[in-house]
Symmetry: C2
DNA sequence: ACCTGAACACCGTTCAAGT
DNA sequence: ACCTGAACACCGTTCAAGT
């Protein structure tokens, strides 16, 4: 069973290698270093480069594996938002939570704003779940008349990534809340 | 006179090398290749790598040199917008023109959304001119009551780069106009 | 079967040697 | 003075050889 199928349990040592690589990559990212040299990560994880490539054939695959946690959290938030009694509250909560997750995890921003199709089936699944939940939120908000009628789930994904980009294009100031507010105001009908 | 001072005329051959490098870099970018390998550009321009580095000590310097045209055009647009009889018109024209220039020139996006200070004095100058003109536009629009009072020139820079990012995070669709509209609506008081 | 790491190609950057 | 390109360090990626 290849790790690439990402279905079924891995052998114990394979899972260990995978975890060590992810930990090494996260350590690098934690130090602000956003690019992930395969050679360096393999060495830090104590495995040969070939083994590293067997687990993550491309840097994008590694990036997606790192982002799975945050992406799953975002899906959970979106599902919760879709079930909120007040559609407007669910909608604003989605944007607020999304922006927070994007700020806390740079790999999520990389995965969410990528134009390429995902490497991992898990990412594809989570993306689909996210799209479904966001669409539900939008339909309910639209029925309530609290958002522009022409906004799609894909628009929301792109716009929230754009706001994150704007927030990141400055020093650690109070921009996040203000920009989120501007986006919310702009999305009202 | 070193080319790095970017003041005063260059010797004829130096100017030729510079132009050849910029042309080679633009050719690469034109093919969608956004990173600029110094070795490859030096070879394409027919000069040694050392000479390439004397002209552009870092890739950021090369990027800024490529962006100067677009940045100057944006400054001109902003100055024109600041002189518009109708502050609201000047303001919307600024955002519209800015987004168009960002879409047409990927190097402008790289330079405008960079958090690092510029390499070239020219970039610093143009940035300052741009900031001044945008601030004038904002003050006039604020006096007219057509924008939120707390929006700064830096916010505008970051937000327009964010919208560009959102536009770029999709296929060639009609997103640019819609996202610009959302931003404009969000910026109203 | 799986893992290793030498090996090849490539890019950034410097600097001794040329003119 | 200025230019050249060999040279060194580094990273991506593959694959023959080991276990």
């Amino acid at each position: 069973m290849s790790p690439l199928t990402d279905s079924g349990p891995l052998r114990a040592d394979s899972a260990r290698v995978r975890a060590q690589m992810l930990a090494a990559a996260r350590a690098r990212i934690g130090e602000g270093d956003l690019d992930l040299p395969m050679n360096a990560i393999a060495k830090a994880a104590g495995v040969g480069v070939g083994t590293a490539y067997r687990h993550f054939p491309t840097r994008q695959a590694l990036l997606e594996a790192l982002a799975v946690q945050s992406l799953a959290a975002l899906v959970a938030d979106a599902v919760a938002g879709a079930a909120d009694p007040d559609p407007a509250v669910g909608f604003t909560a989605l944007l607020r939570n999304g922006l927070r997750l994007l700020r806390d995890d740079p790999t999520l921003a990389a995965v969410l704003s990528s134009t390429e199709p995902p490497c991992l089936a898990t990412t594809t699944d989570l993306n689909a779940q996210l799209g479904g939940a966001v669409q539900t939120i939008l339909e309910r908000a639209r029925a309530e008349g609290v958002i522009r009628p022409d906004v799609t789930a894909d628009d929301i994904r792109r716009l929230i990534c754009g706001v994150q980009h704007a927030v990141a294009a400055g020093q650690g100031d109070d921009a996040a809340d203000r920009y989120l507010d501007i986006l919310l105001a702009g999305l009202r009908p």
